[in-house]
Symmetry: C2
Subunit: 190 residues, 2 copies
């Protein structure tokens, strides 16, 4: 059977409804039935298009970021970082922080969710970040033997995790910009 | 009634038994009854001494670190970092990483555990880290207006969180030493 295609508008509507439901009831209580009812679609369509609840939820989260990190190429590392931050405004960032906190709990009992998060969100972002850093090295902005090169993901993940844990609030563009200027660029010698 | 005192040896035995039990059954299933049975003590003694399961568990975890971060003072920031790392050997670090992962799940449904972790482990470590950094500034090792000064906790938490998430393994002394040399000291201009 031919795989029917949704229009991009319809896909966006479905993703928005999934994120609304996720915020309302959480991952565990979110069912494909509820998504089907909320979006007036059939469960068969949902499973045909996404395969599993985990995939649907992670793709809905990813849909918030209109541009892949790897597609950004402004010509300088600082410019690439700023463009990466501009992908998500503060309001979206706070909403997705709240959703990610909820998923952080759910991954413990849902290995397929952890796998979907890794494959569809974490790995593509890490690959994109790696390309961004690689271009900075190729341009001569960062020395190829700088020991901080392999730790950029660790620095950035620390910004997100510690902002919650130490400061008790979600990251925003101002914080991430300041952190990059204070920590990431100096460590890279930029 | 006078608060009876345990000898340090007996206290150490109790903490070791609590950590064994925690590793075996996890936080949710760990009961004061089980601790009492395992350690041949009475539940009344346990509650008199620790007040709650959350406090007992967190103090047992903290007991692994024989020296408070704030007590370290070697005369240089690099020396202080190394002394802080030497508090826990790699084997202990891996064991406590595994226990902390388990607690990371349990905090979601146990707000008193989160509070005990914050009050008895996270805040004292952050305070100790703050003192260590402050002394480095006073000695002239770090410029007082260095913008990375307020981000040392974020850098360190990133090392722990991302080591699990990106590299899929627990931190050890070699990794933390390399990370400090590659990221923390350069960002601080040391």
């Amino acid at each position: 059977m031919a795989r029917s295609r949704l229009t991009p508008e319809r896909e966006g509507e479905l993703y928005a409804a999934v994120l609304d439901l996720l915020g309302e009831v959480g991952y565990e209580a979110l069912t494909m039935d509820a998504v089907a009812a909320r979006t007036r679609s059939s469960k068969a369509t949902l499973y045909r298009q996404w395969g599993s609840k985990a995939e649907l939820v992670v793709k809905a989260l990813r849909h918030n970021k209109p541009m892949e990190l790897g597609e950004i190429d402004t010509g300088s590392l600082r410019g690439d970082f700023r463009a990466a931050l501009r992908r998500t405004d503060d309001c979206e960032m706070e909403k997705s922080s709240a959703l990610m906190r909820g998923l952080g709990q759910a991954v413990h009992s849902n290995p397929d969710l952890l796998q979907a998060l890794r494959e569809l969100m974490i790995e593509p972002e890490l690959t994109g970040l790696g390309l961004m850093i690689r271009r900075a090295v190729d341009r001569g902005e960062v020395r190829p033997d700088n020991p901080a090169l392999s730790y950029v993901p660790h620095m950035m993940i620390g910004a997100f995790a510690a902002r919650e844990l130490v400061d008790g609030r979600a990251v925003d563009q101002a914080f991430l910009t300041d952190y990059a200027e204070a920590v990431v660029f100096p460590a890279l010698g930029v």
